[in-house]
Symmetry: C2
Subunit: 444 residues, 2 copies
């Protein structure tokens, strides 16, 4: 936290600092510091914690105290909390809720955690189209205390609970008191089905710059609302997952310092072992060229240089395409446009590296006479292979996310290490084949 901020929040230090430091404390210290707070401070802290932390804290408290904390949570946050605790303790926590809330929470638990139904809050402010603005404000005054904090819209439902429109509290306040709600409400509104995936939902929030989106069932009955504050968490979570996949790890659903080392190794070993097994093909590939290497050891010196260039350019291309897909900038049907761009980029980048590589070999030869009589041919081999390998890496790296998505996998699984491994094997073949063509009769 920057120093400017600290001076600004200095007057209310302890609960905020506790929240900041929460992930660094051991569970016993958490409980102790939590108990040291006044009730209102403790409530603020509890509500600011994520569902996982709320669950851990609740389980650390003695059972008689739990009920009053569960009551603080809106039904969607209750459901999130319950999904974070072990199955055999769920019933007990559910039994602490009043009947209405328990029914709502059970309803939410039936949805997948990452679709609109699982994210929505089933409590929202409802008004009737035929009410006057003044009547609706009086009516709102009665509903307002029951709905969660982030809500700023009233939804206009007909007697069958079908969604007819929406009006913000701000607009109600600005309207003349005797207008009808139906006159001030907005009727062309974005609504989503319960099954919509959270990633599509978050794109919708950002495309239309919305504060809340109502969720409706197939017959248009309103089921709840998803608010922007839930979506910020989604955007962050999805980016974290993508970044971890790009780095070649299975997504780690917990903060780095809190996951156990055994789990950490498990999450990483799978991909690493798979990549390693893929990479053993390089030993096989090089085995085929063992005779060439024996005759011209100088060739072996440039193997890491040539194949890593393919890996690096492929990893650039793949991360750019993965992110562009996640942001909706590139779709499956754009693959041909992407190929054309990447062929040009790959050739451009390949020639730049070939130029540098050739210069490096000629310079070293002039200075140290390192590379023998056929140094010019060796330089040509390296330069020509670089163009081929970089072009190949770029095209493979950019196309792999398309292939993965087409097959129904997450394009982000096309990690930098995955692409590098794929390109290493083919890079070797490109390099040694080029060598055979250029050097036959001279070194080979």
């Amino acid at each position: 936290m920057p120093p400017d901020l600290e001076s600004n929040v200095a007057e209310r230090l302890s609960p905020e600092d506790l929240l900041e430091a929460w992930h660094l404390l051991i569970p016993e210290d958490r409980l102790e510091s939590f108990r040291a707070l006044s009730r209102p401070e403790a409530e603020d802290l509890f509500l600011s914690l994520g569902a996982r932390d709320q669950g851990e804290l609740l389980r650390a408290l003695p059972p008689p105290e739990r009920r009053s904390w569960m009551r603080l949570l809106a039904p969607d946050d209750c459901a999130d909390l319950i999904q974070e605790i072990p199955h055999h303790e769920r019933e007990e926590l559910l039994s602490l809720l009043d009947d209405t809330t328990r029914k709502e929470v059970n309803g939410l638990l039936a949805y997948a955690e990452d679709d609109a139904g699982g994210l929505m809050n089933p409590r929202f402010v409802r008004v009737r189209p035929e009410m006057t603005v003044d009547e609706s404000i009086t009516y709102l005054r009665r509903q307002a205390p029951e709905v969660a904090g982030a809500m700023h819209y009233a939804y206009v439902l007909d007697p069958e609970q079908r969604l007819r429109g929406v009006v913000s509290f701000r607009k109600l306040l600005a309207a003349t008191p005797d207008q009808r709600v139906s006159e001030v409400m907005q009727t062309d509104l974005i609504k989503v089905p319960e099954k919509m995936d959270q990633e599509d939902l978050s794109r919708l929030f950002s495309t239309y710059r919305l504060g809340a989106i109502p969720v409706v069932d197939e017959s248009g009955h309103m089921k709840g609302i998803v608010t922007l504050d839930d979506i910020v968490d989604v955007v962050r979570e999805e980016a974290t997952e993508d970044i971890q996949k790009i780095g070649g790890t299975a997504p780690i659903d917990a903060p780095y310092l809190r996951i156990s080392i055994v789990d950490m190794i498990k999450k990483r070993a799978g991909w690493l072992a798979a990549l390693f097994i893929g990479e053993t093909l390089t030993a096989t590939a090089m085995g085929y060229f063992e005779a060439e290497i024996a005759r011209a050891v100088v060739l072996a010196l440039f193997v890491p240089l040539v194949i890593s260039s393919g890996g690096n350019s492929g990893s650039q291309a793949t991360t750019l395409v993965i992110r562009a897909m996640a942001l909706g900038e590139v779709r499956l049907r754009d693959w041909w446009r992407v190929v054309r761009r990447e062929v040009v980029s790959g050739l451009g980048l390949g020639f730049i590296l070939a130029f540098i590589g050739m210069g490096r070999i000629l310079l070293w030869q002039a200075l140290f006479h390192t590379y023998g009589a056929h140094y010019a041919l060796v330089a040509l081999t390296v330069a020509a292979s670089l163009v081929g390998v970089v072009l190949w890496g770029t095209v493979v790296g950019s196309m792999l996310p398309f292939l993965l998505r087409r097959l129904g996998f997450d394009p982000a699984s096309s990690s930098a290490p995955f692409v590098a491994t794929l390109v290493d094997v083919t890079g070797l073949i490109i390099y040694f084949t080029t060598a055979k063509l250029v050097l036959s009769g001279a070194l080979l």
Copy 2:
């Protein structure tokens, strides 16, 4: 967009579809489709576009039409738009604004684009503490039409414009009409200085689950508010930048399909060339072991396998740490905890790969007699180097982001390719040194 959604928004097809397809259209088509919309539809579309697209569209319109579109924008959005257009055209657009707005926009342009001052909207709803709830609602009715859509809070200012508290419209509606604003307002509120960086700001939004944060100057005068919808864009932008850096590219500030190929090559060539030059050290390193390779060509076969394992494990470690830092889960002072974890993980992962690698060599030897008389010693060399290289890659990969942050650079610059390149050179040294120790007297 999934089919469920399309059926839901089918009744208002054209402007939404246009928005979806915007990035795929050529500029002429954009202008033409935009002009085909009714005025209210066109306004919705214009307001949904990002600042860059708004700017491009505006510049495509004939000058006399521009004023009425500029007027639609809140001052912070105006400032964003102006930052997206070439310098020499800015004055002309600014001159289209009325005096008050122009002053506000000029004020905002003085802030850096990515601090709180640059993100904030200088228009907000203000009330006085001594007003009754009823008076404040009447007062709000007059202010409401002037402030932007995402605003749901009234800020309580004293006569010197210092921020005393905040009250949501919802809470005002729920209060009894003759209570004082000072009785219902919340006084312990989070506020930030104008200079706060957007990344810290976004963490604050998510830690405290806020909808809006007021920005104050050094004497506590309120300057504006930052709202959650601006922060969603920030979170997305920062993740995109991090992902591009992790992939080894300079951040690309435009959608993938819209940046020119020349700019694309420029953004990628810098890092790629730097990595390539670093990687030429592998040729130097291998040069030192040329004699060993000539005597035991079998050693060269495993070079790509061994060094890529270091690169892959390093790239896992670095992306995990970069993301944990960006989320605030890991701070500079945690470096020692991270080292300890990564040493254990690195050893664990190293032994797993060593086991697989040894098995692979022994199996191939049994099946094809590929690796000569000293195959067992070769297998031992590969296995022992794998433990060393993976451990080394993991530790280097996890520490590099700390080092970069400590030196004032962005930890995300510790890209997967960067770590792989660093580890390749040292990996070669580990491998050939191990080989000398294990094989001396036998093969070497």
